[in-house]
Amino acid sequence: MSDPLERFRAVFFDESAEAIDAIERNLLDVDDASTMDAETINDIFRSAHSLKGGSATFGMGSLTEFTHVMETLLDKVRSGQLRISQEILDCLFSSLDVLRNLVAHYQFDDAINQAGMQRVKTELEHLLAPPSSGQMVAANSPETSDVPAGPAGSEWLIEFAPDPGIMMTGNDPLRYIDELAELGDISVTCKTSAIPDFEQLDPTHIYCLWQISLKSENSVSEEDLKDVFMWIEDEAEFQFTPINNPEDVASPAPVIPEPVIPPSEEPSPPVSATEQELAQPENPQPQDASVPVKSKAKRAAQSIRVDLEKIDSLINLLGELVITQSMLSIYGDEEKYPQFERLSEGLSQLERHTRDLQEGVMRIRMLPIDFCFSRFPRMVRDLSKQLDKSIAVQIIGENTEVDKTVIEELNDPLVHLVRNSVDHGLEDRSTRLAKGKPETGTVTLKAFHQVGNIIIEIADDGAGLNTERIKAKAIEKGVIKANANLTEQAIHELIFAPGFSTAEAVTDLSGRGVGMDVVKRNIRALGGTIDVRSIADEGTTFTIRLPLTLAILDGQLLKVGQETYIIPMLSIIESIQLKPEDINKVGNRDVSFKWRGNFIPILNLAALFGCQVDHQQLVETGLVVVVESDGKQCGILVSELNNHQQVVVKSLEANYAKVQGLSGATILGDGSVALIIDVGAIISRVRMH
């Protein structure tokens, strides 16, 4: 990345992702063609335009070509030559996919979907040039189209009469004469007869005109000369006369009358008019030429990009600081340290600052959940078209911040839930109308913080879960017994049972064999929980509760012999004390005990991890922590329960090696290491045996 051009490319890719998102947002905002306002279309145009400019600069030809067609269409809409229609909107939506593909092509070397691109491009071109009106599709700008080239000659006589006010646009006539000199040898005559009397002279005006004869060894065309004066073609009069006969040089021919009046005769094609004429025929001035000042303040996303590794190392260091801090607080013993009071003040300040710092650093990893939510309006729009349903998406709390890792892991479960709502939850138009509901169904995505957790709700106002069908299915699949007497809520929760799927027909959308049990497992892997609430004909709401970050864990400290372990609070159902006789044995081994009417296995951590412990004493103490994962419970025998605290999770893989049954480690206040138990892993291990 040391090559500056590479760096600019990286910036351009960020920028283009933003531009494409902006186009999508704007398109989604309108969706209905009749409500498109000038400002929105201007915004979309501007985004496409910057994409084109940037891609051209970085030599991304296919992207430039495609955005050019898009931009031409948008420009026509903007200038009122084309009316925005549903067709155009749909085509612009398809264009987004092409743009993303093209950007990915240049950024990651993805293959270009040629067929898709060609289809959308043809569609755009078709929209651009309805059979009745002319071509205008061609990417040629008027300048490059065929202006008849002037006779090529190596000798020219040039007359140059700038407008008096030419300096007012920052132009200096001498600059152009200098540039002519680059084409060949010049000799310059300045005519000063138009300079007025001193009293009438405006020092900011130019009253001179110049005759320049140019001799070049190379061939110089009239086009080359026009190019020199391109910037000021409307601010000066020119005559370009080719000189082929040496005698002509001696007696120069037509001269612009002084003072400046348009030339009376035009020996060669008029220069200044040519381009204007070419520009006019199909490009009437837009009615609203100046871009209106945007009233909505642009959402200023001031940000810097930082390598995640750097942030993680900072977080790690901070974890150490927290530990050091708690180590110090142990020395808060008044009798040993007479100056304790001052030390204690300092310590409590240190503690407060450490906590603030910790929160601040943690927030660096946080991203607004919008990163995840923003894809849904588009997805739902596409799905609802496919299913011919009318569905609106409502997003609440999109600025709620969540840990980056959580956002990444959350994507798939949310996609699944939203698809389910669209496919199964929401009814089609006629059914909704028959039920007296509004024709358009709503999927609501909502996020908010609640005491150290983030809550995400995916709600629809559809038919609700079909209790009868779920029950029948559960019995058929053997998830429950036929005579089971379950509450409605318990039946609803059956949808999370492994292998359960009610979709009668496997559609393209949901029911691909990946059920709600996978969603639940994914959420649990993030240390979260998912619940469902459903009322017939009113709708279904899924509530996901997640920890704010994966780097800090709410844990229960416990001891097995001399070793300290931590069990995530989320996995613990309860801690109970058993009598030795409550524990069932097979031979010498403890195997199970009766808990809430069922026998659940018992697990000996000491044996699992090879701790030195007096087993007899452990059983006599009878302290058991009941943990749960994936609906399966197990009891863990421990020597003592300590406090419950938030710990900074450190990776075992990174610092040592992966150990079966452990999900990480942390360092405690006294500097000792405590291992964090992976409850899911040990339960499946127990089940296996």
């Binding site: 600019f8 910036v11 910057s50 600069t57 007012m168 910037w231 000021i232 000042v293 642009k298």
Partner: protein
Amino acid sequence: MKKILTVDDSASMRAMVAFTLKAQGFDVTEAVNGQEGLDKAMGDNFDLVISDVNMPIMDGIQFISALRKADNYRFTPILMLTTESGLEKKQEGKAAGATGWIVKPFDPQKLVAVVNKVLK
């Protein structure tokens, strides 16, 4: 050292222009839209201004015409950065007081050549 103000809403474009010109020893200031450009121009005295046309909040045309009205920018060269298809924008820009234009995409060497020519 000659001072140049570059106004563009695209960060990559701005970075390209600034990098290219800084490498030639110019003192380059950046602004993200016409409004910011105007604010920065008023607080300083630039020898050259290079502005994009399509920008949010205040576009290049409005910016150029406002800047040209300021006393210390009456004769300052102001260049537009524009795409080849923007012919009507060029005319609008000229009418607003632009000195000339640079066509996007530009070759960094060409940019330097134009800037040197204008500042000579």
